[in-house]
Each structure stands twice: as structure tokens, then as C-alpha cells.
């Protein structure tokens, strides 16, 4: 009897944890000092790779008015209790045999004694406390916070900036803009002189191609919590702020971290060798506890009912401007040239929607109406990344609606333990700036005029455009993790319609002009011209290597006049 209940319990635990096993596994997470220290526990730091220098944001995240990490802790406690059979608040050697392997190599090996040694935090007492157990679970499943990028627009995905920045110095010089046609030439697959999104974007970046798969999009926001995330952030800092690196490229100048901040001297104490640079080691210890430029409190409802809130606690940097509290859950501010729009949002309704949606789908796909789903019927449910065997708990090859509901509730509950920050880049991409006629293609004339087009963005007038001069606009949404089984983003669909729209024939100029303009970009290039090149030169009155509708029109008028004479 007892063994059956343990088994049942384990099936529950295993399915509950199924989600996390596949998630990324951070090592060496920075643990909160004490479980009682709620304030500290609720802090989540992240770094924004802002155009001119890094920017530290401290988020105080509360879920149901408690620390956002407590949510995770509740769950860990439940798990702990289910393992602690003798209820002595410790897991003995015998009890840890039941801890499943989470896929963390350094913890999931050896005999129970060896494993105990690995999991224990010294001093060793041959049993696991809740804190020690939690440390393991934290390590295995990731933190209670996640940053995710919203699907980018195609024009952002193609990274035109990087393509045109031939020497890779982080900016596009005038010369590089002038050479843009030659630089992009190899991407012109159909050789029509015009570059559309399909030619420029990397394969698989079509946002509409696989709507079921969650996309991980790079964002300039990086978490600072466990060792690995800090190390990742350091790598990105070195890549991003090349101008602050020392000659050996192994340290970043202190100036990179105290621009425009009154208390900037705090950073200096981490420069142990007083060389005015922070090397990787020094950076590592600084980023464990960095000086925040901005402190924000996020309050989200989980089981309680209240409106999500967002509060600006403190600003410490002169780089922040135009702060505006739009509503109790929305703040807008500027960091350098970047516009940040922060928003807290409740996603409680998504939970019920998903379950109901799949319950309805269950009835639809149950073709033989026998009240349960066979493996082939289950496949029509299209539950992403879900195995039939995982859902069919009784393993009788008959998946009932109760089993499905049970699975969905557990799966979505596990997801809801995380606070997710979704980053959406609403800024204009270089492609959008250059695409003057908004036809989602770059024509020879648009490339020819690229220099003029970007002039207004060259803020420092240095005849070169860097990414910071392309005004960024980031929307940050804080909410509890949404069940990913049912993803619907209306924006994706509307975008795809735009991308597939037919390009209309040129409607200006005489008919021969409209028809000779085979790529429909509104001009005739030398490559499109069908007759003797000397005629092209004659028609191209302004000698810009393109015949415009007006030039064609004037040729037509001249001919008519000649005929009259």
C-alpha cells in the first residue's frame, strides 16, 4: 500500500519536474543569504547592454506579496515533504535514493553515499536539509526568473547593420554605406538588384514558419544571478564594449562602469590591482553585487486577486531621463537614447484557457468517440514537445480527458512558478530606415540614398552610424510564466501577411517604363535596360545610373514634341 502511494507520488513528482529537466541547467547559483531575508531574496539583478555603457537594473519582484523565489520554494518544499517519508525535516541516505536524476552531471552520479556527499553543503552530517535540497533543485531547474525575447520582426532578424559593417568595428562608415550595393550583392539570389527579406534573412528566421516552437531571441538584457549567467554577461560585455578594453583585451576600463553616476567610486574597490581596469575575475566579483542604476519593484498576483503593480524605487544614474509613470502597472523612461517601457501583467487567465482549449480539442481528435485517445489520436492534439507516455499516467494506452487535464494543470503550474520578463524591440531597424517606400525590399535607389537617409540618425555627426544612434525602443513585460502549450501571437500572423504581399507594378511613368522596370522598384537600372547603352545614358539626365519615372516621362514628351514638329 505504502509502496503504491510512493509510486504514485513519484509519478506526480516526475511529471511535475518533467519540464525542468529539459530546461537549461545553470551551475553554481548564487544563493540568497537566508530564507528569512525576504527583501534580499526578492532581488533579481540584470544588466542592460546599453549603447554607450552597461546599465544595472535591480528588480524587486514580489509574487502574491512575497518574494518571487518563495514561489519556487513552496514548490521545493512540497517536493521535499513528499520525499521526507519519516517527516523528520531531513532527507536520509535511504530517502535520497528516491531523488530523480535531473541531468546535472556532477550531482547525478555514484552511490547514494557519494551522491549525498556531493549534495551536502559543509559541514557534513550525512543528511540533506531543505536548504541543501533547495540548492540542488535550484541548480537543476534554473532560477525563478527568465528573460525571453519576443519574436523579432523580420527586418530586425536580417541584421543589416552587421552585414554592412564590413570591418566589424561596430559602426557603418560613409564609405561602407556607399559600398552597400557591392556588400549585399552576394545575397541577391534572384539577381534582380533588389534585396527582399527572404534573401537577406538567415534560414529558419521566418517568424511564421514554426509558430509552435518558442523562439529564443537575443536581447540586450542579461540576468545576473548564478555563476554561469555572470560569466555569460562578462563575455557579452567584452564583445560589446570593445572601446573600453585594455590593449590585451582582457580587462574593461573602470570608466565603462561609472559613467554619469554620482556614487561611481563604489566600483573602484573591485579594482584590486589598481590598474583602473577590471579583469574577468574582478568583474566577476563586482557583478555578484553591482551598484544598481535603477531599482524597480514588480508585484504580480498568483493565487491572490489584485492588480499587478510596477513601482520605481530609485534611480541612481544621470543617464535616466523622461521618467513617466503611465499607470500603476506601466512606467516609461529613457536610458541614454533607449526608450524603455516597463509593464507588469497578470497572466492568470491563460492557465484556464489552455486547459479548456485542450479539453475541447480532446473531443475533436477522439475520432472513434470511445472516450479516450490512442497514440495516433493524441498526435493530432499537437501538444508541443510532449510524449504520449508522459501524459498517459496509467500506462494503459488509453488517455482519458482526466489524465490530460491532470497533465496540463501540472505542466502549466510548473511554468507559472517563474517570473518571465519578455523583451520586445520596437525600435526601427536599419532596414526599416533605408526602406523608404515601405515595400519590405531595398532597391538600388534606396541603397544609393542610404547615406542621406541615415544622416539624421548620426547623432554625433562623425560620418558614421553606430547601433546606439539607431534609437532603440524596448518594451519589457513582467508576468508569470505562461503555459507554452498554446501560443498565439496575432502579431506574427499579421506580419506574415505583410511579407507575402505581392509587389505591384510601377504605376508611374510611361507604359514602356513600367514594363521595363522588371523588379518593380520604380526605377530602371542599367541591368534592366533592354536597348543600346547609349540610349540609357541619354535618358539618365541626372547621371545617377537609374532612369526615374520623371526622366522617362520627359523623354516621352520630347519625342511627342519632335513628332509634332
Amino acid at each position: 500500500m505504502l509502496s503504491t502511494s510512493i509510486k504514485t507520488c513519484w509519478i506526480f513528482v516526475a511529471s511535475l519536474l518533467g519540464f525542468f529537466v529539459s530546461s537549461s541547467v545553470p551551475a553554481g547559483e548564487v544563493q540568497p543569504d537566508s530564507y528569512d531575508d525576504q527583501e534580499k531574496h526578492a532581488v533579481q539583478r540584470m544588466i542592460l547592454l546599453a549603447p554607450s555603457a552597461p546599465f544595472i537594473i535591480e528588480l524587486n519582484q514580489l509574487v502574491d506579496r512575497g518574494s518571487f523565489r518563495a514561489t519556487t520554494t513552496d514548490y521545493i518544499e512540497r517536493l521535499f515533504r513528499s520525499l521526507d517519508l519519516d517527516q523528520d525535516k531531513y532527507l536520509s541516505l535511504k530517502e535520497i535514493e528516491n531523488i530523480p536524476a535531473f541531468g546535472v552531471k556532477r550531482f547525478d552520479q555514484g552511490t547514494p553515499i557519494q551522491r549525498m556527499k556531493l549534495l551536502e553543503i559543509p559541514p557534513s552530517d550525512n543528511r540533506l536539509s531543505l536548504t541543501e535540497f533547495a540548492s540542488y533543485i535550484h541548480t537543476a531547474q534554473g532560477t525563478a526568473f527568465r528573460i525571453t525575447g519576443a519574436p523579432s520582426r523580420s527586418s530586425q532578424v536580417i541584421e543589416l547593420f552587421r552585414k554592412l559593417d564590413q570591418n566589424g568595428d561596430g559602426s557603418i562608415s560613409d564609405a561602407e554605406f556607399v559600398a552597400s550595393s557591392q556588400t549585399l550583392f552576394i545575397y541577391d539570389r534572384d539577381e534582380d538588384d533588389v534585396y527582399n527579406l527572404a534573401e537577406l534573412r538567415p534560414f529558419g528566421a521566418n517568424t511564421n514558419a514554426q509558430p509552435l516552437v518558442r523562439q529564443t531571441v537575443e536581447t540586450p538584457f542579461l540576468r545576473l544571478d548564478h555563476d554561469r549567467s555572470i560569466k555569460d554577461a562578462i563575455n557579452e560585455l567584452f564583445k560589446k564594449y570593445v572601446e573600453y578594453t585594455n590593449a590585451k583585451k582582457n580587462a574593461l576600463s573602470l570608466a565603462c562602469f561609472h559613467s554619469e553616476r554620482p556614487d561611481s567610486e563604489n566600483v573602484n574597490q573591485y579594482d584590486r590591482n589598481h590598474d583602473r581596469f577590471l579583469n574577468r575575475e574582478e568583474l566577476f566579483s563586482y557583478l555578484q553585487n553591482p551598484v544598481a542604476d535603477l531599482q524597480v519593484q514588480v508585484t504580480l498576483p498568483r493565487q491572490q486577486t489584485f492588480r499587478p503593480q510596477l513601482k520605481l524605487l530609485k534611480t541612481h544614474s544621470n543617464r535616466i531621463s523622461d521618467v513617466k509613470a503611465v499607470s500603476s502597472s506601466k512606467i516609461q523612461l529613457r536610458v541614454d537614447s533607449l526608450l524603455l517601457e516597463l509593464r507588469a501583467k497578470s497572466s492568470r487567465h491563460m492557465f484556464a484557457d489552455t486547459v479548456r482549449f485542450y479539453q475541447t480539442r480532446f473531443r475533436v481528435v477522439d475520432g472513434d468517440k470511445n472516450g479516450y485517445l490512442s497514440q495516433s489520436e493524441f498526435m493530432q492534439l499537437n501538444l508541443p514537445d510532449t510524449d504520449y507516455k508522459k501524459v498517459d499516467q496509467s500506462k494503459d494506452e488509453m488517455l482519458t480527458v482526466e489524465e490530460l487535464t491532470d497533465y496540463l494543470i501540472k505542466d502549466t503550474a510548473a511554468v507559472q512558478d517563474q517570473v518571465v520578463m519578455t523583451v520586445e524591440n520596437d525600435g526601427k531597424s536599419l532596414f526599416e530606415i533605408l526602406d523608404a517606400d515601405l515595400d519590405q525590399r531595398l532597391s538600388p535607389r534606396e541603397l544609393q540614398r542610404s547615406l542621406q537617409r541615415v544622416k539624421e540618425y548620426d547623432g554625433n555627426q562623425d560620418q558614421s552610424l553606430d547601433t546606439s544612434e539607431l534609437r532603440g525602443h524596448f518594451k519589457l513585460t513582467f508576468e508569470l510564466g505562461k503555459p507554452e502549450l498554446f501560443v498565439f501571437d496575432p502579431r506574427i500572423n499579421s506580419m506574415s501577411m505583410n511579407q507575402n504581399r505581392a509587389v505591384q507594378r510601377t504605376l508611374t511613368g510611361p507604359r514602356w517604363f513600367q514594363r521595363m522596370d522588371r523588379n518593380r522598384d520604380g526605377d530602371i537600372s542599367p541591368r534592366e535596360f533592354l536597348f543600346d547603352p547609349s540610349l540609357f545614358i541619354k535618358l539618365d539626365l541626372d547621371h545617377d545610373q537609374l532612369i526615374s519615372p520623371a526622366e522617362a516621362e520627359s523623354a516621352e514628351i520630347a519625342r511627342k514634341n519632335r513628332t509634332k514638329e
Binding site: S152, F203, V213, R511, W512, R520, L530, D532
Partner: protein, 553 residues
């Protein structure tokens, strides 16, 4: 095939006999055409050691031995059309053609070859060509078809970077079998893999053995799958020993829609059981050597890829050089290209050996091989037959006339008529029947399983479709067409200049004096402006339906 034209035009009032006349005029030209422009490039390379020169030397020696009389050198127009079709998969744009023909540079042909090799069209055409031979059945198999876009994108990126061919082959044979982990990351094209090669071969060791040996080694060992090879030395156990290199791949379970297929590969010494026997055989290379698995600490597929592409491999470089050769002459030095055997000797063994050595020496650079072949005088001969000995195509007395692939036919129609189409992420020719677009219509009509381009067979349906189909009808109508209307409407052109533009658009050459004269008379005989327009329409229609347009010569 053009004798009964039924050209349904909205304003048709010209008799069919008038069209037949135009066709006849073009036909008469087809056999005699191109004497106009003369080629003035020096015949031999100054160094005398270049591969291109040695190709000519060996081919000429063989011709002498066999009593083959060479035809004359191709005209510039003939050469440009041919090399554009061979390197970029389509006829040249009129503007480039005019520029090339007017160019007085002695080295303009060489420069043109270099230019074309750097063009995106080269990458696209060779992606199509290589995909067609690597995944031969994939276009017709619905399950494999879904894998093509990623495979093409991968191949495109390899060709764009001019990756060494041996490296490309190693990547294919040792392709990661798991679903692409980076595919979900837009902005990152690094994660593309050629795993489609495995999926198209259903992950079956016997299919993979047959496919890799044909494609990369030019041998058909699959004939020994069920019994010892009937004409060659391959034994049944040798086939299965080779197939054993793929035996560690686990057959995956069926995946749900939207879920990615996960393929596992087990570790351990690769072995396979010969079907219908109790014999278990180890993985052994075709040369009889067996890897020492304990010592080598490597996976079977990686080890096989290293063996296939090793400099010492007797087949790899030769098979590749032979295949590349066949792309430009319609037949391999060993023909069929994937049938290297004692019963099927090379026509020019010395040349094949030389091509392989140089290919290896130049780091398996496909562009090098292509450049040297296309710069040879052998490649630049005319396709016009001047002596009966030239009908023996294997001795290269003239350039053989070759059929076009479905992709080339569509690309030519687009180039000639100005039909507008946007590049999409996937190859529209692969969307399959039922998709109502001119691309798929042409592809379905002209697709061919045969790699042999020397005997192009036109079907009645193909001819009828080109003569009466909506595509050509629109392309030659004033209301719908692009190129046609642009030429007709352009101000201040004489009839001769218009005829010339139509010839350059469709046939990539100027009309001969005789053609020009006869056609001018023909156009001038029209009694009204409307009739003149229609006469031009019939001319364009006839050019697009001519054999000269539908063949690579």
C-alpha cells in the same frame, strides 16, 4: 513539334501559316546560325602548365587518334549563353549580353567566367544541381520534400563560402542527426545541418550505403545488395560491410506534427546482419581495410567520412572531377557518372587522372575545377556540326547540345519575358503539384529523373503547354507582358532594333542579317499598328518556342 501551332491570342487574326513561316525561318537558322562574330582570344595559355591547357592537349590528342575533326570556336554570343546557363542556370540579361558582345578585351571570356563564378546565381544554380544529385528522389517524395529547404540553405551557405568539397562531403556523412538546436534562433544561420541527407535516405544503412557510394565514390555497389555484383568485383558481403558504417543509427519513433524527429545513435562497434542470412558483418571500407575501433576512438560515420575524402582514396577525387566534367559536357569521362567499374572504362583515362590530381592539389576547390574546364578551348567549341565525325560526342569534336533542367527552363522564361517573381525562403519549384503557379506548372511539366542531358526528350504536353499555355500567352500580349510591351512601346526604335531586342531577350544573340531582313519585311507587311504589334507578338512567341531557346548549345 512546332508544326501545328495553336496560339490562342485575344486578337488573333494572323493565320497559323504566318507563324509557321516565322518558325521555319528560325529553324533554318538553327542549323546554320552563328557565323557572325569572331573569337579572338589566344588559343593557348602562356604558361602551358595550366590544367585548362592540358585538358585541350589530351582531348586534341584523342581526337587525332580517333580521326575526329573539330568544329570552329563558338561565337561570343553562343559562349555567353552557354556559360551563363552552365554557371548561373539561366540565360544572360540583355544589358550584360550587349556589354559583353561590345567588349574588345582579348580576355573577356576568362573575365566573364570569373565574374559569373562570383555571382549569387552561381550559388543558387549549383545548390540546385548538387541538391538534385544528392537527394535525387526528394522532390517527389512528400516526406523528404519538407527537408529540402534546410538542406538547400545549408548547401547555399557552403557554396557561398566556397567551402572545400571534401569538407562538404565530410559534413554530409557525419551530419548531426538531431533536430537543429539553433533553428529556433533567428539571426543565427550557423546551426544549419545537412541531416536531410539521412532523412531522405530514411536512415536505412542500405540506402545510405548505396547513396554515398554513388554520389561520392561513383560506384554502384547497391547492385551487390542481394547478390554479388553481376559485372564487377563487388561481393554481397562488401556492400553490407560498407553499410555497417551506418548501422549504429537508431530508427526513430514517429514524431507528432510540430514535434521534431529525434534520432539517436548508439555507441559501439558497428555491425550489421545481412538480411535473410545469419551472417553478422563488421564495418569494413571498400578497400578491405577495417578501422581499429578500440584504438581510434571515433564514430563510424566520422571515420567513413575521413576514409571517403582521404587523398589516398582511389575513387573520391576522380568521381567528383568526373561529375563536374559532366555538368559542362552532358556526359562524364566515365559515363554514367556513378558507374566506375572495370566494365565501364573512362573515354580519356589520362585526363580523368589529371583532373583528379589537380582537384586534390587545389584543396578540392570546385570553383578551380569549373574555372579550368570552362576556360578550355574544348568547352568553347561551337555546337554546330561541321563534320560527321563530330557526332561521336564522347570525343568532343563539338560542344554537344544539351537539354535544360526544369529550373533552367523556368529561369530562362523569367529572364526572357520579365515575369515578376519574388525570392522566397523555399524553392517554389518544390511546392508540389496543386500549387497554382507558373513555376510549379513548368516544373511538373519539365522535371526529369534522368541525369542524361544529351538526349533531351520533349513531350507533346511540354510543346503544347509552351505554345498555348497561359504563361507564354501572357508573355507575348501587350496587356500582360513586361519585356514584350517594353520593346513595343519604347519610343523611337526602328523595326530592326525591336527585332534585335527580341532576339537578344530570347535567344541571347543578334539576328543574322538574313533573319533581320526577312523579319523586317514580315513586320512591314502588316497593314495597321495593331497588326504590326501582333506580328511582333508572333515573332516573340516563335522565339520562345524554338529549340534554340529550349536547349543549351
Amino acid at each position: 513539334m512546332l508544326s501545328i501551332p495553336i496560339h490562342h491570342h485575344s486578337q488573333q487574326f494572323w493565320s497559323t501559316s504566318a507563324k509557321a513561316l516565322v518558325v521555319l525561318m528560325l529553324f533554318s537558322h538553327w542549323t546554320l546560325f552563328n557565323h557572325s562574330s569572331s573569337a579572338s582570344e589566344p588559343k593557348t595559355d602562356q604558361t602551358g602548365k595550366r590544367l585548362t591547357h592540358q585538358i585541350d592537349l589530351i582531348i586534341d590528342q584523342a581526337k587525332k587518334r580517333e580521326g575526329i575533326v573539330s568544329t570552329h570556336r563558338s561565337t561570343d554570343a553562343e559562349f555567353m549563353r552557354r556559360v551563363s546557363l552552365d554557371l548561373t542556370g539561366k540565360i544572360p540579361p540583355v544589358a550584360e549580353l550587349r556589354f559583353f558582345l561590345a567588349d574588345q578585351d582579348q580576355n573577356k571570356r576568362k573575365k566573364l567566367i570569373d565574374r559569373l563564378l562570383d555571382r549569387p546565381g552561381f550559388v543558387v544554380h549549383f545548390t540546385n544541381t548538387w541538391r538534385a544529385f544528392l537527394l535525387p528522389g526528394a522532390t517527389t517524395d512528400l516526406q523528404s520534400r519538407g527537408q529540402i529547404p534546410e538542406f538547400e540553405a545549408w548547401l547555399r551557405s557552403q557554396l557561398m563560402n566556397n567551402t572545400r568539397y571534401d569538407d562538404i562531403v565530410r559534413q554530409i556523412i557525419d551530419a548531426p542527426l538531431d533536430a537543429n538546436p539553433n533553428r529556433e534562433t533567428p539571426g543565427n544561420s550557423q546551426g544549419l545541418t545537412p541531416r536531410a541527407y539521412y532523412l531522405a535516405n530514411q536512415l536505412k544503412p542500405e540506402n545510405l550505403a548505396a547513396g554515398t557510394s554513388r554520389a561520392f565514390l561513383g560506384v554502384r555497389i547497391e547492385c551487390a545488395q542481394c547478390h554479388d555484383h553481376p559485372f564487377d568485383n563487388w561481393k554481397q558481403h562488401q556492400f553490407w560491410q560498407y553499410a555497417a558504417f551506418f548501422s549504429n543509427i537508431d530508427q526513430p519513433q514517429q514524431a507528432a506534427i510540430g514535434n521534431t524527429l529525434t534520432v539517436r545513435e548508439v555507441a559501439g562497434k558497428p555491425q550489421i546482419k545481412i538480411p535473410d542470412t545469419n551472417r553478422l558483418v563488421d564495418a569494413i571500407f571498400l578497400d578491405g581495410n577495417q578501422p581499429e575501433w578500440e584504438k581510434e576512438q571515433t564514430t563510424p560515420r566520422l571515420r567513413l567520412s575521413q576514409w571517403i575524402t582521404a587523398d589516398q582514396n582511389p575513387y573520391f577525387a576522380k568521381a567528383t572531377a568526373n561529375r563536374v566534367w559532366s555538368l559542362f559536357f552532358g556526359r562524364g569521362l566515365v559515363d554514367p557518372v556513378d558507374d566506375f567499374s572495370s566494365a565501364n572504362r573512362a573515354s580519356h583515362p589520362e585526363l580523368l587522372e589529371l583532373l583528379a590530381i589537380r582537384f586534390r592539389k587545389h584543396n578540392y576547390d570546385l570553383k578551380y575545377l569549373i574555372r579550368e574546364i570552362t576556360k578550355s578551348e574544348t568547352y568553347q567549341l561551337s555546337s554546330q556540326q561541321t563534320d560527321s565525325s563530330q557526332s561521336r560526342v564522347e570525343w568532343y569534336g563539338k560542344m554537344p547540345t544539351r537539354g535544360l533542367t526544369a529550373e533552367q527552363i523556368f529561369a530562362n522564361l523569367v529572364q526572357a519575358t520579365g515575369f515578376f517573381q519574388q525570392t522566397t525562403e523555399t524553392n517554389p519549384l518544390l511546392s508540389g503539384p496543386g500549387t497554382n503557379s507558373p513555376q510549379t506548372e513548368i516544373f511538373e511539366l519539365f522535371k526529369s529523373e534522368s541525369e542524361n542531358r544529351l538526349e533531351p526528350k520533349a513531350t507533346i504536353l511540354q510543346a503544347l503547354s509552351l505554345m498555348n499555355g497561359a504563361f507564354i500567352t501572357n508573355a507575348t500580349s501587350l496587356e500582360q507582358s513586361d519585356v514584350f510591351t517594353a520593346i513595343i512601346d519604347f519610343p523611337g526604335l526602328t523595326d530592326e532594333e525591336k527585332i534585335e531586342a527580341f532576339f537578344l531577350s530570347a535567344l541571347s544573340r543578334f539576328p543574322t542579317q538574313a533573319e533581320s531582313k526577312r523579319l523586317t519585311v514580315y513586320i512591314a507587311s502588316a497593314e495597321s499598328d495593331e497588326a504590326r504589334t501582333h506580328a511582333f507578338s508572333d515573332l516573340f512567341w516563335a522565339l520562345l518556342n524554338s529549340s534554340e531557346f529550349l536547349l543549351n548549345h
